[in-house]
């Protein structure tokens, strides 16, 4: 069955978007086990004596003890937010793997979006300016039709095999 390439591409794109949409809406699924919860919280905490490892990844004894404490507190019914707050009270904001959301430090979360948005803006402005440059060009002298056809064929052949 010969399907038109355009249709096939469109179908494929539709399938991709639909799948991603469904997965995004469905989310991560069922609630996680206790061990996974500990892992999640520990992954968000910075092991205080390591250089950049999280409490989940670090083999240091202190990190082990922190994980044990997280598990105990979860068993006792404390919420993840409270557990994190407890560590922040003892170690300071630097025990969180990412900056706190308030104050000057919280601006870190706006940065990536701002940078990308700024980049997109610059690109759009730039490309608009370049496009108007193209429109201002004067049309080339018209060649007779047969020659134009020959030139076009030659250019296409060139494009197929041009290096670099």
């Amino acid at each position: 069955m010969r399907v038109r390439p355009g249709l096939l591409v469109l179908l494929a794109l539709a399938a991709v978007l639909a799948t991603l949409g469904i997965v995004a809406v469905r989310g991560q699924g069922a609630p996680v086990s206790r061990a996974q919860q500990v892992q999640q919280i520990a992954a968000g905490l910075h092991c205080p004596i390591c250089k950049d490892l999280s409490v989940a990844d670090s083999p240091a004894p202190l990190a082990q003890q922190m994980r044990a404490q997280i598990e105990q507190e979860l068993a006792a019914g404390r919420s993840p937010a409270d557990i994190r707050a407890g560590f922040v009270a003892a170690y300071g904001d630097s025990v969180l793997m990412t900056p706190p959301r308030h104050g000057l430090a919280g601006t870190a979360y706006a940065l990536p979006l701002g940078i990308v948005a700024g980049g997109v803006l610059v690109v759009i402005v730039l490309m608009r300016r370049w496009r108007t440059g193209a429109a201002d060009e004067e049309p080339a002298e018209r060649l007779p039709a047969a020659q134009r056809l020959a030139v076009r064929r030659a250019v296409e052949r060139l494009r197929e095999e041009e290096p670099g």
């Binding site: 390439p5 096939l8 591409v9 494929a12 794109l13 399938a15 991709v16 799948t19 991603l20 469904i22 997965v23 995004a24 469905r26 989310g27 991560q28 699924g29 968000g44 910075h46 250089k51 950049d52 490892l53 999280s54 990844d57 670090s58 083999p59 004894p61 082990q64 300071g92 904001d93 630097s94 969180l96 793997m97 990412t98 900056p99 706190p100 104050g103 000057l104 430090a105 870190a108 940065l111 990536p112 940078i115 990308v116 980049g119 690109v123 730039l126 490309m127 300016r129 370049w130 496009r131 440059g133 193209a134 060009e137 060139l158 494009r159 197929e160 095999e161 041009e162 290096p163 670099g164």
Partner: protein
């Protein structure tokens, strides 16, 4: 040795300064004999720096502990292999090595332009000498490798245990240095073009190859760093978003952007200002990286011992930025190029998009890494910007980069014939869609992971398709070799796709567990039965190695180790890895109890990690292929090289 080394360093500094002046005067006054003299000075400088490094090596191998560097970084028990590597184990010695590589590049440039002399050459030589002057001032001033101790100790302290634990120490720093320092050459030629005031684009083609050289080395250096983190540090991962790792990535991203936007200048004469800024930016970021690494400004795994070089690097960084961008501002009129964009869907637009994304990633990483510093300066508050921040911020950006890598090679210049583009995209898009649907159906619940697999497939199939088309339609290997640059680009993209698959798989599908086993006890993990067999002790000259043997049912044994060095308070763990194409089985021993009768292990199942190394290697190979100079044959029947655009022709 100490005296020889110190005097030779001083002599080298004098030579470098002389070379900078002679080359500069020769450039301004256009006197070829001065330029020739500068070239000879370059050879002399290389010889002197070789002598200096040789002196340090002899001191290390000969256990000359009167030198404080040798006493602090080597010992009698250190194996010869690691004694040699101690040359770059710490700040002062590694600066000697840095100077050696820089002098090597300087000489390579001097040799390369033996016969053909572009007008920028003398200026570039002068700039290279000037950079060398800075690094020689460092080793003559704040960081003295040949400083002597009043009383030489009987034995040295030995290298830091982590640095003598694994042979990768032999290659990771050298490749990184070759990469970083390699970017000095494009910078020198860029500044030279600004100084010479030539408005032509000749310099761009010239430095493309040199940038590629630096880029290839840096790619290998970064991949080796990840390999080290994975195979040596034992935490199961390969990239910790450590500040020093981050700043090493920055010049790589910027030079990748340059290697793409260079096509805009070569083909369409566009983006001249942008390209020169990228070249200066890559070098400035590299300098910023060395400042951050060696100036003990941020806490890091790579922190060198407290050294007085911080202020010197900062001053140099300031000079580089002022000089480089100041020149750009000064020469702005000559840098303006007429730019034309026929269509939003074209190779040009895709290249602009590529640059925007890569520079956005650079900015995010740079600002994120410097953020704790800024916040502490402003409010005194101490915060951490760690892995989760960078991962969530950069994932969308890198996914978009993959999208471009899978579609842009199929886009033509200027305008696209829509039907033809769709025809070419047909197979890659369908393949990607199949992968997306397939992974979702298989149960993967993370949108970014699914998108990652899908886009990597797109890149793989699209670039692979172009190579296959080239092989089959246009005359096989000869076409490949003639269009070397293009097919090398496809290869690099394929390597990138493999890298992306490895990263996506290992980030989202990894499993781990921590378990304490007594001797003879087994546990089941990820479908394997693992049994702790017992502890073996091996007394070596410089350390004691405790191996906790774990047998894997049907698949041999894992041997994670704990290495006890006298200099280290804590043992250094070494993981044991069973590598595979689908997944790695990874074991590390966290602690031992009861004299080894009981041991706490961490086991990991890391899918896809092997593809990281394969992908990285392929990227480097593609880069080498792109940089490989064409054979210059003069045959009357050979077809002339085609250049698509009137501007942009130049010496390569």
């Amino acid at each position: 040795m100490a005296g020889l080394g110190a005097y030779a360093l001083l002599f080298a500094l004098v030579l470098a300064a002389a070379g900078a002046v002679v080359a500069a005067v020769g450039a301004r006054s256009q006197r070829p004999e001065l330029v020739a003299a500068a070239r000879r000075i370059a050879f002399g400088l290389l010889a002197t720096v070789v002598v200096v490094n040789g002196a340090m090596l002899i001191a290390l191998l000969g256990n000359d502990f009167s030198l404080s560097y040798v006493a602090g970084n080597s010992s009698r028990e250190t194996p010869v292999f690691f004694k040699v590597l101690s040359l770059w184990a710490a700040d002062d010695g590694s600066l000697l090595f840095w100077n050696l590589i820089l002098a090597g590049y300087l000489t390579a440039v001097a040799l390369r332009f033996r016969t053909e002399r572009p007008p920028t050459f003398p200026y570039a030589l002068s700039v290279l000498f000037a950079v060398q002057v800075f690094y020689l001032v460092l080793v003559n001033g704040p960081a003295r490798p040949f400083a002597t101790l009043a009383a030489a100790p009987a034995d040295g302290r030995g290298p830091a245990p982590l640095l003598q634990n694994h042979p990768l120490m032999a290659v990771h720093p050298p490749f990184l240095y070759l990469g970083f320092i390699g970017f000095t050459v494009p910078f020198a030629f860029g500044v030279a073009a600004l100084l010479a005031g030539t408005g032509s684009d000749a310099w761009v083609s010239l430095i493309r190859r040199w940038t590629l050289v630096g880029w290839c080395f840096l790619t290998v250096g970064l991949v080796l760093g990840a390999l080290w983190s994975y195979s040596v540090l034992g935490w199961g991962g390969y990239w910790a978003w450590d500040p020093v790792e981050n700043v090493a990535l920055l010049p790589w991203l910027v030079s990748t952007a340059f290697l793409h936007s260079i096509m805009l200048q070569e083909r369409r004469g566009m983006a001249r200002l942008w390209n020169i800024s990228l070249v200066i930016g890559a070098f400035a970021l590299m300098t910023f990286g060395t400042f951050l690494t060696r100036g003990s400004v941020l806490s890091s795994v790579h922190a060198f011992a407290q050294s007085a070089v911080g202020p010197a690097y900062l001053v140099f960084l300031g000079l580089v930025l002022l000089g480089g961008f100041g020149l750009v501002a000064w020469r702005l009129p000559t840098l303006r190029t007429p730019a034309r964009l026929e269509s939003m869907v074209s190779r040009e637009a895709a290249l602009v998009g590529n640059n925007m994304l890569l520079l956005a990633a650079t900015a995010i990483i740079l600002l994120g890494t410097a953020f704790p510093l800024v916040v502490e300066a402003a409010t005194g508050e101490q915060i951490t910007v760690g892995g989760p921040y960078f991962q969530s911020a950069l994932a969308p950006v890198f996914l978009l980069v993959l999208l471009l890598a899978g579609t842009a090679p199929l886009l033509p210049w200027r305008t696209v014939n829509r039907a033809r583009a769709v025809r070419r995209l047909r197979v890659p898009v369908v393949a990607a869609a199949l992968v997306v649907v397939g992974t979702a159906v298989a149960g993967l619940a993370d949108v970014e992971a699914i998108a990652g697999f899908g886009l990597a497939t797109l890149v793989l199939v699209a670039n692979g398709q172009e190579i296959v088309t080239g092989l089959s339609q246009h005359g096989g290997m000869r076409a490949l070799l003639r269009g070397r640059r293009r097919y090398a680009g496809f290869t690099v993209h394929i390597g990138l796709a493999l890298l992306a698959i490895g990263i996506t798989a290992s980030t989202n599908l990894a499993q781990q567990t921590q378990v304490t086993l007594k001797t003879g006890q087994s546990t089941v993990f990820a479908g394997h039965t693992l049994r702790y067999e017992g502890l073996e002790t091996d007394q070596q000259a410089q350390r004691i190695v405790l191996t906790a043997r774990v047998s894997v049912a049907g698949d041999g044994a894992l041997t994670p180790r704990m290495n006890l060095y006298p200099a280290a308070a804590d043992p250094i763990g070494s993981p044991s890895i069973h590598r595979g194409l689908v997944h790695d089985l990874y074991a590390s021993v966290i602690s031992l109890q009861d004299d080894g009768d009981s041991a706490t292990f961490r086991f990991y199942r890391n899918p896809g990690v092997t593809w990281l190394w394969i992908g990285g290697a392929l990227m480097a190979l593609g880069g080498i292929a792109a940089a490989w100079p064409p054979r210059r044959r003069r045959r009357p029947d050979e077809r002339p090289q085609r250049r698509a655009a009137p501007v942009g022709a130049g010496v390569g």
